[in-house]
């Protein structure tokens, strides 16, 4: 075989390939000409329907420029029977305003009828769960909050300090939207009370919470949150708060209907002062109503 023949053969093959390519170009996928789009880093949204699971904070943030007006109700215990209409005759409530400032920063405050308590918090996420290039598998959020008891002093004759009304809480939320339908999160929490009722109680209360959401349909999901307190005195009457409920989304509102053994609606109250026992049906019906308002409108129109 001589060199020329070899060259010729290569040339023919090459030409053939180019011809075929050019013919194929007539029916090709035009979009492919632009090359494959690289997957961009994208933040995972809608891990929860609202910034609260039920009682506890969720890994979800309000969108920047929006305000969430929340009305929370907890009724009396179900075991009270018909005389109190299964608890519905008694209601405890919290009214709250939450504001989305950045995609990973929000603040909020609220006031509860229980102990006439005022509470406020700031929630910030150094890491948000994302997909694509440089993805991060979890959202890690930090919450720091403060509560202020508004009841008259139990014993006005002794010297009372304003600081005795205050309690603080610090929480880390580690959460992941595992699939489109399932989200789970872990919430190690520390509550510090400046004043406790009994000498046997600790000022620092350590707990770990778990929360989750299971989407049942496009608009309904099952939610649950639970906190386990580690350093409660053995003879304490207080219980771990467990809440189970449904999130129902109606377009502008999110309704969270649930059963819970706690009355309190801020971290100090529900983590450290829950008295009801699930095994004795000392549970309550409750609902959270959330309505999100757009305060700052996004610019979608070109100038």
């Amino acid at each position: 075989m001589n060199k020329k023949n070899q060259l010729l053969r290569i040339a023919i093959v090459l030409t053939g390939i180019l011809y075929v390519e050019s013919l194929r170009a007539q029916e090709e996928d035009l979009l492919k000409l632009l090359g494959e789009e690289k997957p961009k880093k994208e933040i995972v949204k809608n891990a929860f329907k609202s910034p609260r699971v039920i009682n506890g904070h969720s890994m979800e943030f309000l969108r920047p420029g929006t305000m969430d007006f929340r009305i929370l109700h907890r009724f009396g215990q179900l075991d009270q029977g018909y005389d109190n209409f299964f608890g519905l005759d008694q209601a405890s409530m919290r009214m709250g305003f939450d504001f989305g400032i950045l995609k990973n920063l929000m603040v909020g405050f609220g006031r509860s009828t229980y102990r006439k308590e005022l509470d406020g918090y700031i929630k910030y996420a150094p890491f948000l769960q994302s997909t694509g290039k440089g993805a991060f598998p979890f959202t890690i959020a930090l919450v720091s909050g403060m509560t202020m008891d508004g009841l008259p002093w139990a014993d006005p004759t002794r010297k009372n300090f304003f600081t005795s009304r205050l309690a603080y809480y610090f929480q880390t939320i580690i959460g992941r939207k595992i699939t489109e339908g399932l989200t789970l999160q872990l919430m190690p929490t520390m509550v510090h009370k400046n004043l406790v009722q009994l000498a046997s109680e600790s000022n620092n209360i350590y707990s770990v919470g778990v929360g989750g959401r299971l989407r049942l349909s496009r608009r309904v999901s099952l939610t649950c949150d639970y906190f386990h307190v580690y350093n409660r005195p053995k003879d304490s009457e207080y219980q771990d708060p467990l809440s189970v409920g449904f999130d129902i989304e109606t377009g502008g509102h999110v309704f969270q209907l649930h059963f819970s053994n706690s009355t309190g609606m801020n971290e100090r109250a529900f983590i450290t002062e829950t008295t009801g026992r699930w095994d004795k049906t000392e549970i309550r019906f409750g609902f959270n109503l959330s309505r999100v308002f757009q305060i700052k409108k996004k610019k979608t129109k070109e100038k």
């Binding site: 030409t15 011809y19 050019s22 996928d29 035009l30 979009l31 809608n46 496009r218 996004k298």
Partner: protein, 186 residues
């Protein structure tokens, strides 16, 4: 022998060189308006990251629209659009593959405005339907702009509007497309 090789290679180059002129953009605009008549708020979104390729020779045209690229005035609307209506996580892209029916009327080398009829298939929310619309192609100093308006029935694409918001969200959406395309090299 060398001449033959040269000839073959030259014809191959010519064959690739005879690729039809194509135009493209990655910043096309698609607007949609599903505001129901009498609704207090406007249900409209805009996407400015639409990809479009037009083959001037054959009249073939394709669009790709990332659903998450739609922006709304209200964040909640954007969330509902992605979560409840078009389900962007399941169906991230809408695509149109079609053809300019009267492409021979358009002379891409000359400045001018041409009314064209575009026929093709629109895939959205996992459903594919035929779409036909009138549009305009404007040629100005080598640049091509394309614009079209058309209506789609949301139920055609299995996008359901719950009764609660029926007074706000219309059953059909008006889609406006406008793209300025540049010559595709290569």
């Amino acid at each position: 022998m060398k001449k033959i090789i040269l000839l073959l290679v030259a014809s191959a180059i010519l064959a690739t060189g005879s690729y039809a002129q194509k135009y493209f953009t990655k910043t096309g605009k698609v607007n949609f308006d599903a505001t129901s008549s009498g609704s207090p708020e406007k249900i409209e979104g805009v996407n400015r990251t639409v990809t479009c390729v037009v083959d001037a020779k054959t009249g073939n045209m394709q669009f790709a629209v990332l659903m998450k690229g739609f922006e709304f005035e209200r964040a909640l609307m954007e969330e509902h659009f992605n979560e409840n209506y078009v389900e962007s996580d399941k169906f991230p892209k809408a695509e149109f593959k079609g053809n300019i029916a009267n492409n021979d009327k358009v002379s891409y080398a000359k400045d001018g405005t041409y009314t064209v009829t575009v026929k093709g298939k629109l895939t959205m929310h996992g459903e594919t339907k035929d779409v036909e619309t009138e549009g305009k192609i404007t040629i100005q100093s080598g640049k091509v702009s394309a614009a079209a308006d058309f209506q789609v029935l949301l139920s055609d694409y299995k996008i359901s509007i719950p009764g609660l918001v029926a007074d706000k969200v219309s059953k059909s959406a008006k889609i406006s497309v406008s793209c300025s395309l540049e010559a595709l090299k290569g």
